[in-house]
């Protein structure tokens, strides 16, 4: 392990690797692979090793991260730390107490002055850090309440933050006592204008902190109550639902009693209030207008009240139209046949019909003639053929 020999060396080393360090700082919450780190130092393993040897970086194969010391430094300076650390405040208070002790024992003016300076610095820091811590606390509480999905963890976190709040309150008491009763001798003898300003300022800060802390306490209590109420509802609902699904809700709980006591209007169907009209109102002009309106509606409907009307019959349907069809008069055919002396099928093939008649139709007419006038015809046992068709030879009877 090697060390930086001077602040200058440290600062210039940090400056040289500013790309890598700022990238690592931004990604401090996720694992960062060493190969990506190499890319940021132009693939020079030496440069990476230089930082590792001096404890700026720490490897956790295959990942690399900034050492905790440097990380804390950056977080504190940049005001991004999420951890609420009350030990810092405590540390400063102890330091102030020590310095005051030295100051009071010391006779040498210039050393006394050095102690006063360190006290001033510590006082400033203590005030600032406390306020900062309270702001972080506030944000963390909000965050835990709104984003933490697990109930148990959420409650534990909020309770933890509540303890932090108590710690900070105690420390504020200590600072206040320090400024007031405990070190009266010091503050009386060493009070110069600057120290007076600092003390005044820190008193303001303490008041601000206290107000914030009271608000935080209220917030935590409210959040915890909300969570407890919610989880109580959820848990109870789960049991009720279970019993309901088992059809045991009516028998095993007091739901009957609860509901028979509950007369909320929400359970009732939507009411309607059919009221009779006021006779006095009907005499007024305003009512007259309404009566006229209702009256016109009534007369409109009076034609066929309640009956649906069909639409008018179109004129087309009512116009006379003649449709002509030539009908073959079978009686006339028979008379001609009796006069012809031909046999029936031959006669029908050559007969002059009043319209065009196909062969199939002629066959049909043959069959109809035979069935209609069977009594008057002589159907012989002789059969002739005409193409596909075989027919009996029929003569007049």
């Amino acid at each position: 392990m090697q060390y930086f020999h001077s602040a200058k060396e440290l600062i210039s080393a940090l400056y040289r690797e500013r790309d890598l360090l700022s990238e690592l700082f931004e990604k401090r919450k996720i694992p960062f692979k060493e190969e990506y780190a190499l890319e940021l130092v132009e693939y020079s393993e030496e440069r990476l090793d230089f930082l590792k040897e001096r404890g700026v970086l720490r490897t956790n194969a295959p990942f690399v991260e900034i050492d905790d010391q440097y990380l804390q430094f950056l977080e504190t300076i940049l005001d991004v730390n999420e951890e609420i650390n009350t030990s810092f405040i405590n540390e400063h208070i102890l330091q102030i107490k020590q310095s005051i002790l030295y100051y009071l024992q010391e006779n040498h003016e210039s050393r006394k002055y050095a102690y006063v300076r360190s006290i001033k610095a510590s006082l400033r820091k203590a005030g600032r850090i406390t306020l900062r811590n309270i702001m972080d606390l506030n944000r963390n509480i909000e965050h835990a309440f709104k984003t933490e999905p697990t109930y148990a963890v959420k409650i534990a976190k909020l309770e933890h933050y509540d303890r932090k709040r108590q710690d900070i309150t105690l420390l504020l008491d200590q600072i206040e006592r320090l400024l007031g009763e405990d070190e009266q001798a010091f503050f009386k003898s060493a009070l110069d204008e600057e120290l007076r300003q600092i003390v005044l300022h820190i008193r303001y800060q303490i008041i601000e902190c206290r107000h914030n802390l009271i608000e935080i306490q209220k917030q935590i209590i409210e959040y915890l109550n909300q969570i407890k109420y919610q989880s109580r509802v959820t848990e109870h609902l789960r049991r009720i639902k279970h019993l309901k699904d088992q059809f045991e809700l009516k028998t095993k709980t007091n739901i009957h009693e609860i509901l028979s006591r509950n007369n909320a209007v929400i359970f009732e169907p939507n009411p309607s209030y059919p009221l009779k009209l006021s006779l006095d109102y009907l005499q007024t002009d305003e009512a007259w207008q309404s009566i006229l309106r209702v009256g016109s509606k009534v007369t409109n409907r009076s034609g066929a009240p309640g009956l649906p009307l069909a639409v008018n019959i179109a004129d087309d349907y009512l116009r006379n139209e003649t449709d002509q069809e030539a009908v073959i008069d079978l009686d006339a055919v028979r008379n001609s046949f009796f006069a012809s002396g031909n046999h029936l099928f031959g006669f029908l093939l050559n007969y002059s019909y009043p319209r065009e008649v196909s062969f199939e139709e002629k066959v049909t007419i043959f069959c109809r003639m035979v069935s209609l006038f069977e009594q008057e015809l002589n159907v012989t046992d002789t059969y002739n053929r005409d193409g596909e068709i075989e027919y009996a030879v029929v003569y007049p009877g």
């Binding site: 959820t234 639902k241 019993l243 007091n254 609860i258 909320a264 209007v265 929400i266 359970f267």
Partner: protein, 190 residues
């Protein structure tokens, strides 16, 4: 009795007598105004409505009417309570912090339906109230039912977002008031 009541009395009666709530966190300004009028003159209103047989009840950020004696039978109330138990159970399964002031859109829930089998089966169970087969339609109908009963409110028509009103607390309180005897409680699986 004071007959010098605010001019909103009629509006208040119209809402409450239909079995609806007047909630402090409604996004409708006139409802919020009715709430503050009720808050200012609670005693006067209480007396006035008692005379016409309605009991003005004050919950946590909401008002509603009840009666001194029941007008409907117990079966009907049990039916309604059962329906609410199923519906609240569904929304609490969707998000255990579901409660008054909770904002959601039906599509938030539908996305979860696809990945959460328990939630899906619970929505199936709600079909008997919605008589709709399709999930989206069924959910829409359930939400509309709760809007009609004044437990939810459509907050933004364009983004189709809804909000649970403070009256939702009434349902929670109703459920909490059902007492489970200890020996029964022990038998319920965790």
């Amino acid at each position: 009795m004071s007959m010098n009541l605010p001019k909103q009395t009629n509006e208040i009666f119209e809402v409450l007598s239909r079995g609806q709530f007047i909630c402090a966190n409604s996004s409708q300004e006139n409802i919020r105004r009715l709430y503050s009028v009720l808050d200012d003159r609670f005693d006067d209103f209480y007396e006035y409505f008692t005379a016409i047989n309605f009991v003005l009840e004050h919950g946590d950020d909401y008002y509603y009417f009840s009666r001194s004696e029941s007008k409907i039978d117990l079966e009907r109330k049990i039916e309604a309570a059962y329906k609410w138990i199923d519906i609240i159970d569904f929304f609490k399964t969707f998000d255990s912090s579901f409660g008054p002031g909770y904002r959601f859109t039906p599509s938030d829930i539908l996305v979860r339906i696809n990945v959460d089998a328990l939630l899906k089966s619970k929505l199936e169970g709600l079909k008997k109230y919605s008589s709709e087969d399709a999930y989206a339609e069924s959910l829409k109908k359930i939400i509309r039912m709760l809007c009609n009963d004044n437990f939810f409110e459509m907050e933004n028509e364009l983004s189709d977002s809804y909000k649970a009103l403070s009256s939702f607390r009434y349902l929670e309180e109703l459920i909490l008031s059902i007492n489970i005897p200890e020996e029964v409680d022990d038998a319920i699986p965790q």
